[in-house]
């Protein structure tokens, strides 16, 4: 059977930067295909070329159903049945389900709305994929999963033969992902080709036939999805292997940085005593609700303990506010990187410097532009943040690099103790590796680190010692070197 779509030797440069280099891609009708790669690997450029928004450089060929398109434009792309569902779904929240599905009708030649035709178009599209949404409900009242269903219906209404979905499972629950997988199986049976675009191993890969991997604008290869697993995919995407060993460092002679004794906050945690030495990474794990986050907030001055003592470098600290904690040399990076004070629209440099502005050398309270620049650049280099320009908005960075900006922001305060609460939630395996590297480096510079995480392997392979918390109490301690993941898991589950 002929392919639905073939692209050959597609290249694209932006300025001097290679976005795509000689990339081939072939898609068959009724196939589920995954297109994976890290941020900046060229996935989105390729999608834009397929949707006609960008044009490939001379030499590349685009063949759709046997016909060659030398200058594929958005109108032709749509007419060929190519539909892209972006991660934000591009729906109109204020309009009804029916109107969103049949919105293309508003762009036709007719001046007047034919509400009956519009409704019939919407009903037909929903019937094709067996969706039973209320056509009169407003889209803003729907769950994310149902909104996605509306977006798929809209693609159906446009007679899609190829549906490209950008990160479709990123904001779905496990349950919703299962429903999406069933739906995709149906679309496949109806002869529609579905392309999933992702930067991680997705649940949807279970039903995919082939995986195309891009790295730095070039195609690494095309692989049967059956043979893929997390580690292999990460290897292909990044060109690096990720294998970790437990850490063994003798820190007995190192200076004590944090020592907490009998710390209690009624109703949250009780009688917590722990020490962290300079250069030591102490893992803290436990089930949700074990009190670990509450404890971390207390160490950062945002949750006053009822009794007990916190000493930093031997001096007792009475933390009433987080400003005092920062002053004392404690930094805290919380769970959700988007909520921990990154101002996404502001430049990277401003985000890094915000914690230290009043400490930079200044004249009459004004910091010289040159000083700002130099300081920001230093941290960008130190933490290997991949940013072409420190004046770009943080929003333009990938998730992993945003996470590094957060680290840079706190490192700029030159903390004695760094508390990391689930630092790798939602980032891909390569970005995780980057973060671990940064954490190791910080530790080697003598910072004491408290690494809080749900993920057993994370604390097992990256901490010198792991403390287990349960119902507000420390219930166990594990030294990974010479122990096993299973043993630690058992302590958590106990």
């Amino acid at each position: 059977m002929a392919n639905l779509l073939d692209v050959h030797a597609i290249s694209k440069h932006f300025g001097g930067v290679v976005a795509l280099r000689d990339v081939d891609l072939s898609l068959r009708a009724g196939e589920v295909h995954c297109l994976v790669g890290e941020n900046g690997s060229g996935k989105s450029t390729l999608i834009k070329i397929l949707s006609g928004v960008l044009h490939p450089e001379p030499g590349g060929r685009i063949v759709i159903e046997g016909r060659e398109y030398p200058h594929l434009n958005p109108v032709q792309s749509t007419a060929c049945g190519i539909q892209v569902i972006y991660q934000d779904l591009s729906l109109f929240p204020n309009l009804t389900v029916a109107e969103n599905i049949a919105v293309a009708g508003h762009l036709g030649a007719a001046r007047l709305v034919n509400w009956r035709t519009l409704r019939m178009t919407a009903d037909a599209a929903m019937a094709r994929i067996g969706a039973s949404l209320d056509p009169d409900a407003r889209v803003e009242d729907l769950s994310i999963a149902n909104r996605q269903l509306v977006a798929i219906c809209r693609a159906m209404a446009a007679d899609a033969k190829l549906v490209i979905m950008d990160e479709p499972t990123a904001s779905l629950t496990r349950h919703e992902v299962d429903a999406l997988v069933r739906l995709v199986a149906d679309l496949k049976r109806a002869g529609i080709c579905i392309v999933f675009v992702s930067h991680r191993l997705d649940e949807v890969m279970e039903i995919a036939e082939r995986v195309t991997v891009l790295r730095d604008g070039a195609k690494v290869g095309e692989f049967p999805a059956r043979e893929m697993d997390d580690k292999k995919l990460a290897m292909l995407m990044t060109g690096k292997a990720f294998a970790y060993r437990t850490r063994e460092t003798d820190l007995a002679k190192s200076k004590m940085v944090l020592s907490v004794s009998h710390l209690t906050r009624a109703g949250q945690y009780e009688d917590i005593s722990l020490d962290i030495r300079a250069g030591e990474i102490v893992g803290l794990t436990g089930l949700l609700g074990s009190g670990r986050t509450e404890l971390a907030l207390s160490l950062f001055g945002m949750n006053r303990p009822t009794s007990g003592e916190i000493r930093l470098d031997g001096k007792p600290l009475a933390l009433k506010t987080n400003a005092q904690a920062i002053e004392g040399g404690i930094a805290y990076v919380s769970e959700d990187r988007l909520n921990l004070g990154l101002v996404l629209e502001q430049p990277i440099s401003s985000n890094i410097l915000v914690t230290v502005l009043d400490k930079l050398p200044s004249r009459l309270g004004l910091v010289a532009e040159e000083t700002r620049r130099r300081t920001a650049r230093k941290w960008i280099e130190d933490l290997a943040i991949k940013a072409p320009n420190p004046d770009n908005a943080v929003r333009t960075l990938s998730g992993g690099n945003q996470q590094r900006v957060v680290l840079a922001k706190w490192m700029a305060t030159q903390p004695r103790l760094l508390i990391l609460d689930s630092p790798t939630v939602g980032v891909d395996i390569a970005a995780k590796d980057g973060i671990y590297e940064v954490v190791r480096e910080l530790a080697s510079k003598g910072v004491a680190i408290l690494l809080i995480s749900d993920e057993i392997p994370e604390v097992f392979y990256h901490a010198h010692r792991v403390l287990v918390m349960r119902r507000g109490r420390l219930t166990g301690e594990c030294v990974p070197h010479g122990s096993s993941e299973e043993e630690l898991q058992a302590m958590v589950d106990a």
């Binding site: 309009l95 762009l107 709305v113 009169d136």
Partner: protein
Amino acid sequence: MPRHDDRSLAGGGTRVGRATSRWTLSPALLRFRRSHEFWLLAVILVLSLALSLATDSFLTLQNLFDLLTSNAFVGILASGLLVVLIAGGIDISFTATASVAQYVALTIGIRQGFGWFALFAVAGSVGVLCGLINAIFITKLRISSIIVSIATLNIFYGLLIVSTGGKYITSLPKFFRDGIAWFEHDDANGMPYALNLQILVLVLAFIAAWLLLNRTNVGRQIYAMGGNKDAAQRLGFHVLRLNILVYGYLGFVAGIASLVQAQLAQSVTPTVLVGKELDVLAAVVLGGASLTGGVGSVFGAILGVTLLAILQNGLVLLGISSYWNQWFVGLTILCAVSITAWSERRRRAAKAIN
């Protein structure tokens, strides 16, 4: 092909948008009962009832007639501003536009001996031109619409005052002063009533806005663009064309309204219209239109204008000092907007729990 219940996709959530109720209302009625318009209508009815009981003069043909006539200017402008707000923009320059259109149309009209049609055509064209200027700056240079319209308000108004020296035009043509009076009849006290220019244009303006927003494809594009501009662009909406349409439409409506106002005032005063833009904005927002775009209805705008009109009229009839007027208007807007925001939050919270 097996059917997917959306319930499975919603992760066990309830079916959205088709709630059951103790009363068996049709879905459309149920939706209305939860809407902003429903609450506004209820408030208007309660207020009207109270005023009818408290005063002899509220529920009289004469008062209602006066109410309509004197609020026509604000109402007509509201129908135009609504369209801009739904498109996701804002424009406060329309009072200056109206002042310019009024002056230009009547100056030329008197000199050339224009009739009704020509007067409206000139005033409308001047309005469209002003709207076009706004649209081009807002779309082409992507300047925020509030800033552009603050600037153009001052530019239009400044030019008008400088070139006219703020002089009145009082010698208006006789046909213009007489206005129109269709379906004339006398009430029991011998007072003549007729369908006058103000009421006629007011009704036409609301019908036109309703047709534009609900019956034309371009109207639906306006709603869609106001709801999600990025998505509209991705789907190939012609944003510049839509902006020219909405700002041009408001300009046109402002031009028409300016003549309606001049006829009522029986004179042209360049300084009298500017300053009313916030009253119009208040009425439209009170009617449920959102400053972030995509939300609002002609019915809501009518109710917003009505509520403010009745409130002001009621205070006069009750003999309350006019100094209290603004205080009440402000309070009403704050209450109405708070109630809507609060009920919306409650609805969302209830859904989150489900």
